[in-house]
């Protein structure tokens, strides 16, 4: 039986510190928490993105771990190569971990991720989802939600931000018959820590998709990052779930959802939305939950 992790028994050692991320960065918090579980023995692969840009600034290398910056499309491929290389060197049970953002995962990186899961590679892939390409200046990705304004889905009179919904990366990963997949949010850190622990222990590929607000890209105060990440789960716009042994499971089923409008209006990227669109977002949420409760309940 694996010991449940919480704020009291979590490792005090830091493996990710001294980085140059913005104040209130959600993504860097996800990395910091994950590495407390994975430890300094994990070998990290990160593609181009904020986390690479803020942590590999010579001589202030922010990772205590061995880490590699990969070509954009290839986080999971490089992580595969690292695992194979370490095995060839006689390393027992090497822990190869990929960290990539939403664009690096759902858009350009999905091919190599799919390949690695399909091969049954023993590796962990953590998608830190801040819902747009933030490092290059807030461009829409496949994980940008409906209605969000980005620099390539500007909110104008005719088109009110992003017209597509988020790609279901968690379910796409699960559809491979993956050993372990989960969703998480930095608003629920204990849940995340224990999911990382499960990913570490599982025998095969593991995928964790974590929701990480971005004050710079979303236009919110840096002090409410964690609040938003909690609220998004409480409003039902994001969900905490797992896929294990071929079964889906919801970890949290809010009895009543918190109001969506208040949550959205705290973020500049949604401020242009009309009541009609906010209702549309609620309807999309309800449809999603109806399906999840029916199929995974």
């Amino acid at each position: 039986m694996i010991k449940k992790l919480n704020a009291r028994n979590i490792d005090a050692k830091e493996c990710f510190y001294g980085h140059k991320a913005c104040g209130g960065c959600g993504e860097s918090l996800a990395l910091r928490l994950a590495l407390k579980v994975l430890g300094e023995e994990a070998y990290l692969s990160l593609p181009a993105g904020c986390m690479a840009a803020v942590s590999f600034i010579y001589p202030n290398m922010a990772f205590k771990n061995n880490a590699v910056i990969t070509p954009f499309a290839s986080t999971a491929a490089v992580a595969t190569g690292i695992a194979a290389g370490l095995e060839a060197l006689g390393k027992e049970a090497p822990l190869s971990v990929g960290f990539a953002g939403d664009g690096g995962t759902a858009d350009i990186g999905i091919q190599s991720l799919s390949g690695a899961i399909d091969r049954g590679e023993k590796f962990i892939y953590i998608c830190t989802d801040n819902e747009a390409y933030m490092n290059t200046g807030i461009q829409k990705s496949g994980l940008t939600p409906f209605g969000a304004a980005t620099t390539t889905t500007p909110a104008g009179k005719a088109i009110h931000g992003c017209v597509t919904e988020k790609k279901n990366m968690f379910e796409i990963a699960a559809a491979h018959g993956i050993s372990y997949a989960a969703t998480a949010s930095i608003g629920y850190p204990e849940d995340f820590l224990n999911k990382v622990q499960k990913a570490k222990e599982c025998d095969g590929p593991a995928y964790i998709h974590i929701y990480t607000p971005c004050p710079t890209g979303w236009g919110h105060g840096s002090e409410i990052t964690v609040d938003l990440a909690k609220e998004v789960v409480d409003t039902g716009l994001w969900f905490l779930a797992e896929y294990e042994n071929g079964e889906f499971r919801l970890n949290k089923k809010p009895e009543n959802f918190k109001p969506v409008a208040d949550h959205l209006k705290r973020q500049a990227r949604f401020r242009h939305l009309s009541e009609i669109e906010i209702t549309q977002i609620e309807e999309m949420r309800d449809r999603k939950w109806e399906k999840m409760l029916k199929n995974w309940g």
Partner: protein, 349 residues
């Protein structure tokens, strides 16, 4: 005449493209060219065009392949590592003789490199870049006004020769704001009877770069391409000669580095040193004859570029031993300094 406006290089490029009749733009985020997709995402829907953010550079260039095959005026833009990903698609476009405009706002490499401007993709741009025997026309603007002018030219050249035309700028030019007179919208539609525009009432068109049969089909196609490139070499070469009439020394430089070289020429002229600047505007075809003729009249040629000596190879081919060729290269996004150039040229005397 149009009024001069202050605009950023990348945005000027996007606006000039729309005015030149670009109806389709396919992009993907990468610094330092992000203002191009951002501008296109705002303007294209308003002006009846198509902006599409692809899921990768590979997808973007192949959307260009599709749109160009259908007969649209189409563009994509990226920066160095992104251009590397586009090279397969560019080779296919060249193989199928599809016109399009590809923008590379270069940054330092190799690999992910940095985000500061660089000129280290000269080889990749002028030597084909992908597989097979092909060329792309490469235009190298030296200032924001020229970004506007060459963008319009790029679309016309692409359609005229059915070739990929690359605009080779760099991060400094893309991010630089300068006064610019934007071109008047002037679309010169070119008939495209080869396009896959619907085969009703005619034989269907095939767009392809695969040529398996009969035996000599691919060879013949390549001979045809080489003849086309010869014709282009004779027709589209552009360059600028600045203070070269009485020059003892000649600096050869393009794009951002030519701006610094021009300043060095002015500084040296103030001190009585007879020096001039030769600036290739087309990097392929390279202005071989123009440079060769000038080099015969000078004691020494100094090549200045932000790479380890890529254009230097073309300079050496052009000069062909008639005078000595010296080199100043800056690597990884570093810029040459005018004082440095002045010092080197003075050491020749």
């Amino acid at each position: 005449m149009s009024k001069s406006v202050l605009m950023k290089g990348n945005e000027v490029l996007a606006e000039a493209a729309i005015r030149a009749g670009c109806t389709h733009y396919f992009g993907y985020p990468i610094t330092p060219q992000n203002e191009i997709p951002a501008y296109m995402s705002k303007e294209m829907p308003k002006r009846g065009g198509c902006f599409l953010q692809a899921e990768s550079e590979i997808a973007a260039i192949n959307m260009v392949f599709g749109a160009s095959g259908a007969g649209a005026r189409v563009m994509t833009s990226s920066s160095s590592p992104g251009l590397s990903l586009k090279q397969e698609g560019i080779s296919y476009l060249a193989g199928a003789e599809l016109p399009c405009v590809v923008v590379n706002m270069m940054r330092g490499g190799p690999g992910l490199g940095g985000i500061a401007g660089s000129q280290a993709d000269y080889f990749q741009a002028t030597r084909g870049g992908g597989n097979g025997d092909y060329r792309t026309i490469v235009l190298a603007p030296g200032n924001v006004q020229e970004i506007a002018d060459l963008t319009v030219q790029a679309f016309d050249l692409a359609d005229k020769y059915r070739m990929v035309v690359m605009i080779l700028g760099d991060g400094y030019l893309g991010q630089m704001s300068e006064p610019v007179i934007l071109p008047e919208p002037d679309v010169k539609p070119v008939p495209k009877p080869w396009a896959v525009s619907g085969a009703k009432g005619r034989e269907p068109n095939k767009v392809m770069s695969l040529r398996l049969t009969p035996d000599d089909y691919l060879e013949k196609h390549n001979i045809h391409l080489q003849e086309l490139y010869k014709k282009v070499e004779g027709e589209v070469t552009q360059s600028e000669a600045y203070m070269t009439d009485d020059a003892d020394y000649l600096i050869v430089s393009y794009g951002t580095s030519s701006r610094i070289a021009r300043k060095a020429v002015k500084m040296l002229r103030n001190e009585g040193v007879k020096v001039g600047l030769f600036r290739p505007v087309t990097l392929w075809p390279f202005p071989m004859k123009e440079l060769h003729d000038l080099s015969k009249k000078v004691k020494k040629v100094l090549t200045v570029e932000m790479s380890a000596g890529q254009m230097l190879e073309d300079v050496n081919i052009a000069v062909n031993g008639v005078t000595e060729v010296d080199f100043l290269g800056k690597l990884g996004g570093a810029l040459p300094e005018a004082n440095e150039i002045v010092k080197i040229v003075k050491s020749y005397g």
